[in-house]
């Protein structure tokens, strides 16, 4: 690696990096092909024929719609809770130094640093000790807890870039705390919050490990898929749902990236 050629990577590195990226992407692309296959019983490759009939079949399946509706409702409410808690926490941690500040960051990160099964079974045993029956809200309780960190990470990164002198200037010009928040702080952090919210939504929409412990008999989309993976009923329908799930999670991620692309810390690096 001579300094005159430093802008061009060695061939070996290029190949290794390209192979790594292909390894990451090809399996997902395969899902798109299988959604159109005519084969019903096995995963045979290459597909014997292509058809779009499974989209219609999936469309008419009430269980898929119920799961989708539950997932969207859970994700929306969890995101809203996570937005409030995450922003408050980020504001407190980034604007002041106080005793126990490190502990607070650790507390926020812990739900995703520990394996999901621990969060799941901990919540489950707490529900059973407190005699709380499984419901929509038990799912939300779990999801909101690990969604906080996503919002928190985005908001903290943005707060760090927003200089404190703007807040002081606003106060000097006579704005009270609420006006400063409304006209100075909020416009500054709005896109970071939107990005954090989308990522939280995507995280909640996709969560399965904690949900299996907090859902009881209810089915979110991931739980529905898990059931199909363990006890397949109609494989082509699973293929179609898998493809739709990929597309549904793709859009918020791309949009969150677009919103925060100019920052030094980009959304999503803290899943």
């Amino acid at each position: 690696m001579r300094s005159d050629g430093s802008q061009s990577a060695p061939l070996g590195l290029k190949i290794a990096a390209a192979c790594g990226l292909l390894f990451l992407h090809l399996p997902i692309l395969l899902i798109f092909v299988y959604a159109f296959t005519t084969e019903e019983k096995s995963f045979v490759w290459p597909p014997p024929g292509l058809t779009t009939q499974w989209f219609a079949v999936t469309w008419n399946r009430p269980d898929v719609w119920q799961a989708l509706s539950l997932s969207v409702r859970v994700a929306a409410i969890s995101t809203a809770i996570a937005l409030i808690l995450g922003t408050l926490c980020a504001a407190a941690v980034s604007r002041t130094k106080f005793f126990g500040r490190e502990t607070i960051s650790l507390l926020v990160i812990l739900p995703i640093a520990l394996p999901g099964i621990i969060t799941g079974i901990a919540l489950r045993s707490a529900f059973s000790l407190a005699d709380i029956p499984f419901s929509f809200w038990t799912i939300v309780l779990g999801h909101a807890t690990f969604c906080v960190v996503v919002v928190y990470n985005n908001a903290v990164a943005r707060f760090r870039r927003t200089s404190g002198s703007m807040i002081e200037a606003s106060m000097d010009l006579g704005a009270d705390g609420f006006q400063t928040f409304r006209h100075v702080v909020l416009p500054n952090i709005a896109t970071a919050l939107l990005a954090g919210g989308m990522l939280a939504f995507a995280l909640s929409f996709d969560e399965v490990i904690v949900t299996t412990f907090t859902a009881g008999q209810q089915q979110t989309v991931p739980i529905w898929m898990l059931e199909e993976l363990i006890r397949p009923r109609q494989r082509p329908v699973t293929n179609v749902v898998a493809m739709v799930v990929v597309l549904v999670t793709l859009l918020p991620i791309l949009f969150a990236y677009y919103l925060t692309r100019d920052g030094d810390q980009i959304a999503g690096s803290g899943k």
């Binding site: 990226l21 901990a122 996709d206 898929m225």
Partner: protein, 322 residues
């Protein structure tokens, strides 16, 4: 937050008039007593996480000191260490050891595959390519976990694309040879330990790439140039300059790959053998066996392992690379 949503703003002059009444008084109070504001901001998230999360963890820990009555199957709410005694049976130790071996191998493989991607993205990719690399890691990271597992079920199935590809390349004998090996082999890749390993690596790989890339971004390019100017071969530069500087990133990434592998019970259940991992043992103990105390004791194992791991990682400065 919604307190002043009704504030008129389009007509606001450059210098806003001071507001009187309750709101003004409250605002002044927060200004004079920042501690109060801090307390009010921290209270909701800390209460939520403290009660819902830490509370649940303690509930879990408490359960592990209960025991199950072997005859009635009811949980005996008295303090005992019997459950921990049950945990250290040979069969359970076997599960713990198997899971840790898998976690270590997965971490190692992820680091090896992640390094070139992270290094290329950090040092050579510019402008549009940089964005492409970033999204190239981010999209698989955020793609649905179950869909990714499902994709590998399609790939590794006996009639799937991998077998087809190897048949076309006349390399089926390699696959058959590998599958006939003990421990790693099996009927097909989708019911073998090798399959479990591949899927673990695939699913956790992005978690390794991002921190390694973050660590490598901070290595000045001229450091690598200086090393080669001083006569080091690329291999020496890697061993003595790049690798030590990337190590905190690798350790940070390994926190995720290790912890996620320790706790996962879905991947080995869908793609793998009938030999259990910690996650599956926990799941079956709390579910079908109804032995919540033993399940709770089992989860204490990854918590302790991760505790030591995080402690070591912190000493290596890995948290700065997160």
């Amino acid at each position: 937050m919604s307190l002043d949503a009704a504030m008129p703003r389009a007509t606001a002059p450059a210098i806003l008039p001071g507001s009187g009444g309750m709101r003004g008084a409250l605002s002044d109070l927060f200004w004079r007593r920042p501690q109060l504001l801090l307390f009010l901001m921290l209270a909701p998230p800390v209460l939520w996480l403290g009660i819902v999360y830490i509370g649940s963890l303690f509930a879990l820990l408490a359960q592990s000191f209960f025991s199950i009555d072997e005859f009635s199957g009811l949980i005996n709410h008295e303090f005992t260490l019997k459950t921990y005694g049950d945990l250290f049976q040979a069969a359970n130790l076997d599960i713990i050891l198997r899971t840790m071996t898998m976690a270590a191998l997965v971490t190692l493989a992820s680091a090896i595959i992640a390094f070139p991607i992270a290094y290329y993205a950090a040092r050579y990719a510019r402008g549009r390519w940089k964005a492409l690399f970033y999204l190239g890691v981010m999209l698989p990271l955020w793609s649905s976990y179950l869909v990714k597992i499902y994709a590998w079920k399609l790939i590794l199935a006996k009639e799937g694309i991998l077998t087809w590809l190897l048949a076309k390349l006349h390399l089926l004998w390699v696959l058959d040879g590998w599958l006939s090996l003990p421990v790693v082999g099996g009927n097909s890749l989708s019911v073998s330990a090798t399959g479990t390993f591949i899927v673990f690596v695939y699913v956790w790989l992005p978690f390794m790439i991002l921190p390694v890339q973050a660590a490598l971004e901070r290595v000045p390019g001229n450091l690598v140039e200086a090393s080669s100017d001083l006569g080091a071969s690329p291999g020496q530069t890697f061993r003595n300059v790049l690798f030590p500087l990337a190590l905190p990133g690798i350790v940070a990434g390994s926190i995720f790959t290790f912890s996620l592998t320790l706790g996962d019970y879905i991947i080995p259940q869908i793609i793998g053998t009938s030999r259990l991992f910690i996650g599956q043992a926990v799941y079956s103990q709390q579910g079908t066996a109804g032995n919540i105390p033993l399940a709770a004791a089992f989860t204490v194992v990854p918590i302790i392992i991760m505790g030591f791991y995080l402690w070591g990682a912190k000493r290596m400065g890995a948290f700065d690379a997160l």
